[in-house]
């Protein structure tokens, strides 16, 4: 057998050996949708529906007297003002392409909820937005109770509202805190030091506050 034929045969055997790993090659050429260039669709239904969803989770005050998305169930800014939709649409989060589906799902649930409970919906706003705050809450308790097929996805969306409010997940933290991000301010997240970092020289009561376990080992471990 010549070297060339031997080489071909060996190459063929190698290819056969690699056949079970065809899925690897497929991974290289089939890329998931590019999640880094998304913008929220210009749809008058989607934005207020998602705002109403976020506002039901972390309620806040209305932005104006004619604000329908925010129910105004609590004083001070809520998840919407804290940037819930900014985070939902934040490219690294990667869920922007799913937002129209989420909004449509919420509105479908709202229509069903209204029919079940004999509620007449205002046709000038999306169905979820047309629900009163108590009904929005009752509906989200149903949707987010963990037993439905959509629960995982809706819980992930809910988590974004929480992360927007409690962590400003779409912003550099130092910028968010210094500019008075409403959620971070509401939970009392501290300002950084002058150098833009968080660090503390006073951090301890500096005194013994309990008796150690009598059988603690020399290196501080349990027996």
């Amino acid at each position: 057998m010549s070297d060339a034929v031997d080489l071909k045969r060996r190459r063929l055997l190698q290819l056969v050996a690699l056949a079970p790993f065809a899925w690897q090659a497929r991974r290289w050429v089939v890329r998931p949708p590019d999640a880094f260039a998304q913008t929220l669709p210009d749809d008058p239904t989607i934005v207020p529906t998602l705002e109403a969803f976020a506002d039901t989770l972390i309620p806040g005050e209305k932005r104006s007297s004619d604000d329908r998305a925010i129910a105004g169930a609590a004083a001070g800014p809520g998840a919407v003002q804290a940037g819930a939709l900014d985070l939902m649409n934040f490219p690294p989060v990667g869920v922007a392409p799913a937002l129209p589906g989420f909004a449509a799902g919420l509105n479908a649930h709202a229509v069903q909820y209204a029919a079940t409970n004999g509620i007449a919906l205002d046709p000038t706003v999306p169905p979820f937005v047309a629900l009163a705050f108590g009904d929005r809450t009752a509906l989200l308790v149903e949707i987010l109770d963990g037993s439905g097929p959509d629960e995982l996805a809706y819980f992930a969306l809910a988590a974004l509202a929480f992360l927007a409010y409690h962590t400003a997940g779409h912003l550099p933290l130092v910028d968010a805190v210094r500019s008075g991000h409403p959620g971070l301010a509401a939970i009392g997240f501290p300002q950084p030091q002058a150098d833009g970092l968080w660090h503390y020289s006073d951090f301890s009561y500096r005194r013994a506050l309990a008796t150690r376990h009598p059988e603690t080992s020399k290196r501080g471990n349990p027996p």
């Binding site: 290289w28 880094f36 039901t56 109770d145 968080w198 503390y200 301890s204």
Partner: protein, 548 residues
Amino acid sequence: MSETADVVVIGTGFGGSIPGYYLAAGGARVVMLERGPRLAAEDFAQTFEIGVYTRIVDYIRGTGVDVTAGNCVGGSSVIYFAASLRAPTFVFERMGTLGRRLWPAAISRQTLDPWYRRVEKILPVAQQRWKDVAYAGGVWAAACNRAGHTCNPVPVAVDLKRCTNCNFMVHGCRFDAKRSMLLNYIPAAEACGAEIRPLHEVQAIRPADTPGYRYAVDYLQLDPTDYRVAVGGGTIDARLVIVAAGAMGTPVILQRSATYLGAMPSAVGRYFSPNGDHVTTAVLDEAKVRDLLGLERAPGVGYDAHHIGRPIGTMTYDPLVASAPEFSRFSLQQIYFPPIVNILLDDRVDGPPSWFGVDKRTVTSRWRSWLSVLAMTEDANEGVFGTPPPTGNFVRLSPAASLGQLTFDRAPQTQSGFDAADALTRSIVERDGLARHHLWAAPPNGSAPPNVQSAHPLASCRIGDDPDTSACDDRHELRGHPGIFVTDASAVPTSLCVNPSLTIAALAERASAFLLLRAAEYGVNVATSVRLPGRTASSRASRCEHPA
């Protein structure tokens, strides 16, 4: 021809870095494949911006359990909270629900103590004095004391002089105060020629193509900006393979490899333990912190300091009673989590919703008065991995969230441990109205309890003496597949009642001694005795059989 190496190490956390060092120092050609990126102190940012910390922290949603794990060179040692404790003596005698000892007969606290000592020396581990304990740990100690319990400062793998008490440990330490693998075993391994390749996600192990080599390790190279995207791939033939991809990764790689290597031991992907982790949160009454505990951190301010310090300060060992029945023993540890987790807490108001709405907002407005307590209990190893995903260790839904194939159908024994821990925690923090005790209510699970939240995944390919209930023998070699070793958290047989990092590392130290011997038997030209890693560049090089 495939690329070759004497040893391929899959993963660079505690379980990968330690054997990686010993084998490289012994003279083996070592390649270490890490699915995450390589970052250093200057890259670790104090921010909650998605896309920054999520580069190195994976949050994996399972059924009945959610797991947080590291995803970078250094693995979970980069994101851990550095509590470094030896497991109590009784843990090694546990029988679980099987009615016989779960740990190998060769391993007890006494026999593991010398290996613990080595890790404590190399990390190194520091003893916190009371003046080192941050406010939250102080409040927990004082509350325990007032309730008649002891409470200890926790040993930590932290350079206390460097630590700035910033409480951003989960982001990686930008001050290099936390003693991760990046500061000891990894540079020591590299000094002896080990090659570390970040963003290399191992998919499967199969028989090698190259004569003289046992196994081929197939990997994909990942896009650093989106780990869902592969940008290349390859294969390395190795004489030995060390699987240390973490308890969420190792079983998945081995399950997938069964297609090529033949059946895996039945314990691969079974007996997962979340270390019995169970977190609850007290919302303190600031006035009572002053009046009942006599604490004041500034004039008129009792606490108001949830955000200050290191995440773990103090814990009580009182419920770690060796003679008590199994599943009733646990420790209670003060712990801090960043506001990323605020969604999880319940509002303690009757009726739904329990974790969102107006009442929840009121609870979170008192965030600076929160005091979280981690119970580490004895669970029943009830976690089971399902069918592996097409690639990787779990399905990355987005760069920030993943879906695992892990199911944790909570056993009554595990629940009883959680209930006992809750009862004791509540009795301590609610004594005379010091605080209100809140459970973690999310994510909801229909009529089942909310998912267990664990940052300590263990036991999914555990060591043991019984082939039916352990994937590896007592020297960490995978049953039926000579030359494949599991040296990470998945090898730990049971929950530990303390934070597991030191035990994982001690087991990896112990396993390394056997690995050197086994490597020599399998034809690797390697010294069978290697000294501990040095602390300086020159001392590290002096350990190497063949300096890089």
